[in-house]
Symmetry: C2
DNA sequence: ATTTGGTATGCAACCAGGTGCATATAAGCC
DNA sequence: GGCTTATATGCACCTGGTTGCATACCAAAT
């Protein structure tokens, strides 16, 4: 559901092709959602089927034809309905926590290795997010236009999550080693 | 994969029925993984099929018969193999962040409502986890037996996550209101 | 007597997401 | 001529998880 609605919001802001939407995911929406191009195309087809978007075939020179999708009135209505619905808390199935939980069977030494490997990955991710913050969001949040504030908040959540995870991991490794 | 392995670890610690495993999920493993009884039974059947667990039918008086599942040698081997594999970082598809991102189309007032509703839910969850901590883990972590430390660490991650989320939400609401 | 709640197991259908593969055009490079 | 990269779209299959339903036994409460 969220993927459909995210796509609707993207084509509302600017009529787009599946390809462009996928690029959007790789860039900014990647802070909080991942989607492959197959998923995007599949969802666009379903949305067009239900009349929530409509598309025009656009011939191009020097590259393949494309389908530009735009939101419809029904699409706006569906989005507004969804937006008003209360949201379930996301489910929390975390493979690494399974390894922590089963650490005695797996071996505590192996667990410590897993933790520090994961820590390296999370450090990378944090560094990446911090670089984006420095480059694209250096000003005070209160001075940003609304749309930018909203994207910035999703970035902030990524930063907060990574920092909290790293703090937890450090304490955990210390406890297991000590 | 993680679900299979979690089940393997549970039946390794103590041969169990699907019903008991489901109860285990509702209780302790619920800090970091959710699974319905259907999922558990399906996975147990698959595990038995592949020879990673074996089961005995046990007749009971006063209640239905049950199947007690235990891990096999092949099961231990499969677990050890999986445990050594590096873990992917979990995917981060968060419906609430979609609402933040699409807040202009959805309406900022509606977004603020969504945020405070979510905040109430996260506060409840935090209170629940803190109650568990007070009741079951009052002693210093260093004094706990290993198995208890490991469960405690998964609880700590839940606590850290909820606290980080709440902090983020407060700042976000302030920014959007101010 | 009937309902509720706990124990115990399972099927069928569906939905969301991921993997692998396929196709087509064209620019630029070696 | 063949390689890679970028644009652009899509199918088929598989896995993992959810929903709804079904069955059966028994105890305790109403």
């Amino acid at each position: 559901m969220s993927l459909r609605m995210l796509i609707l919001a993207i084509v509302e802001a600017k009529p787009s092709t599946g390809y462009a939407i996928t690029k959007e995911f790789d860039a900014v929406a990647g802070f909080f959602w991942r989607a492959s191009h197959q998923q995007v195309y599949r969802e666009l087809a379903a949305l067009a089927d239900e009349g929530l978007v409509r598309f025009k075939d656009v011939a191009q020179e020097g590259r393949p034809d494309k389908k530009v999708h735009a939101i419809t009135v029904a699409g706006r209505r569906a989005f507004a309905e969804w937006y008003a619905q209360p949201q379930d808390i996301p489910r929390l199935n975390d493979p690494l926590m399974v390894k922590v939980f089963t650490g005695e069977l797996g071996g505590v030494d192996n667990l410590i290795e897993q933790l520090s490997a994961a820590r390296a990955q999370h450090l990378d991710k944090l560094a990446m997010l911090e670089a984006i913050q420095r480059e694209h969001y250096p000003e005070a949040p209160a001075d940003m236009p609304r749309w930018k504030q909203l994207v910035y908040l999703t970035l902030c959540w990524g930063l907060a999550r990574e920092r909290a995870w790293l703090q937890w991991a450090e304490q955990s490794e210390a406890l297991l080693r000590g």
